[in-house]
Amino acid sequence: MTPKIKSVVLLLGLAALLAGCGHSSNINKESERGNANEKMESTMDSKPDNLVHTIVLPHYEPVFPPGPGRDEFVTACVVCHSPRYITMQPRFSRTTWLSEVKKMKDVYGAHISDEQALKITDYLVSINGKPDSGQAPKGTYGE
């Protein structure tokens, strides 16, 4: 990619231009939707051919309460996904949270040690946990 293309892409990403979606028959409908979009970072190339379509995704500042394991959670989990993956869940037992952390490590390949996995589980339980039914007592990793 040349620096020129790079700067074009950046400009597209930052300019909040509203236009049709590449086909003249759609322009009216698109303009009607303009009010809903006027503050969103959605851009179409302003040139007549409208061939580059770019959006800029909004960013939401995550807030994590303090607690043991917080650093491990922020480092290992938020690399790949929003912390809302945790906060949208209902309260789960330690068994369920541990199995979720294990899934991230063993199935998706999250770069965490067994020790870190336990600390992350502690943190998830402390912010969104409920009493366990007895399996997987604290401090064990897996079955």
Partner: protein, 396 residues
């Protein structure tokens, strides 16, 4: 420029932009039981906010009081953090390769100009729609009933493209990949597959338009696979690669994820998990209330209208029964005209509550195959919810 380089640059563009404009919301932790946050994403209206990275956005139910769901309100569900945020139609190509005599690289313009356009009205529903209603609760996207929508899709049949590519004898599966990329090399790229016969049934299509407009980026611009009657996991967004395979397709997203118990209606017991599982496939039958609004105050003696939607995998909805007394008595609702076998069908019934107090509304849909909704249902992944819905309303 390859795809990763391009996405990398786009990522840089996003990072630059987000320092300039940050939409802040309420603190994120401690919200499991708080009311849904609404959020605005590019080309979208205010939607129920599940996650931002990658985006998962749910449609507020009032948008279902019309036949077609507006593009700006249509639900959004991605799996991988690296979603496409810029597409240059001058260089974008849909690649058809694998077990074919004539590999193809087609631009969106080629699709529009060289193939006969087809249109279909079809429901797209997330496998996990209504997951938050399962008891015991299961991990995953905590959708209420809004991970569904009905749209008119216009594009090209996969059959016509495969015919031009001249599929060789012995083809088994066809895989579909999009522009989204995994955040780590260890995470499987999101690729789904259909059998060659399904892919060539003439209904499975590649849509370049949704409700006569180009697709919003987060709904799969510029091309999206449409698999009528099947769960949304197969409707690959930002579709870029079609590969014909002489053997069965296999990857994490079909072998391990998106599987349901092999028994009836994908149901199992929390205490006795099913040993046999199969890939999720066609929709079961369900209906969803869209009126009255839970916040609405109803009055004794004042006529109101109960409304909803119902759909299945394409047999067609034949009957919707409504109860206003918690399932004691049932009466048929009036069905709106059919808009096609893969569209949802709206239904309505007038109701004049007589007394003050609490009423439990229920709705039960039945399709042309005689299938109806569940009384109870559970599976470990929270898929295919179709329990008869209960809505408690207050008349005062």
């Amino acid at each position: 420029m390859n795809r990763r380089e391009f996405l990398g640059i786009i990522g840089a563009a996003s990072a630059t932009a987000l320092t300039a404009s940050c939409n802040r919301i309420n603190p994120l932790v401690g919200t499991p039981s708080s009311p849904a946050n609404l959020v605005r994403f590019p080309e979208k209206t205010e939607m129920i906010f599940l996650t931002d990275r990658p985006p998962q956005l749910e449609t507020p139910i009032h948008y279902f009081r019309q036949d077609l769901t507006p593009n700006e309100a249509f639900f959004v569900r991605w799996h991988l953090e690296g979603i496409p945020t810029s597409v240059d139609l001058r260089t974008f190509r849909l690649n058809i390769s694998g077990h074919v005599r004539q590999p193809l690289q087609l631009s969106v313009d080629d699709l529009r100009s060289q193939f006969e356009p087809i249109s279909i009205i079809a429901v797209n529903q997330c496998s996990g729609n209504s997951r938050s209603f399962f008891e015991p609760r299961v991990p995953g996207g905590q959708w209420k009933h809004g991970a569904v929508g009905n749209a008119k899709w216009t594009g090209v049949s996969v059959k016509s493209i495969l015919d031009r590519a001249q599929v060789k004898a012995g083809a088994v599966d066809v895989s579909f990949n999009g522009l989204d990329v995994p955040p780590l090399p260890s995470v499987a790229d999101f690729v789904k597959a259909l059998s060659i016969d399904h892919a060539r049934d003439g209904e499975v299509m590649i849509a370049y338009a949704m409700n006569d407009q180009t697709l919003p980026m987060v709904n799969g611009f510029p091309l999206r696979l449409v698999v009528p009657g099947w769960y949304g996991t197969y409707w690959v967004k930002a579709l870029s690669d079609i590969t014909v395979l002489p053997q069965a397709f296999s990857n994490f997203w079909t072998d391990k994820a998106y599987r349901i118990p092999a028994g009836p209606n994908g149901t199992e017991s929390p205490k006795d998990l099913a040993k046999d599982t199969i890939p999720i496939n066609r929709f079961n039958v369900r209906s969803i209330f869209v009126r009255p609004d839970p916040e609405e105050t109803l009055h004794p003696g004042t006529p109101t209208q109960i409304e909803g939607i119902a759909f299945d995998s394409g047999y067609g909805i034949r009957r919707v029964e409504v109860s206003t007394d918690g399932g004691g008595t049932w009466a048929d609702a009036r069905l709106d005209p059919e808009l096609g076998k893969y569209s949802w069908r709206r239904w309505r019934t007038p109701w004049t509550p007589t007394n003050r107090g609490q009423y439990r509304l229920m709705a039960r849909a039945t399709n042309a195959a005689g299938d109806t909704q569940s009384k109870e249902q559970w599976n470990r992944s929270g898929f295919m919810w179709n329990v008869i819905q209960q809505v408690d309303v207050r008349v005062g």
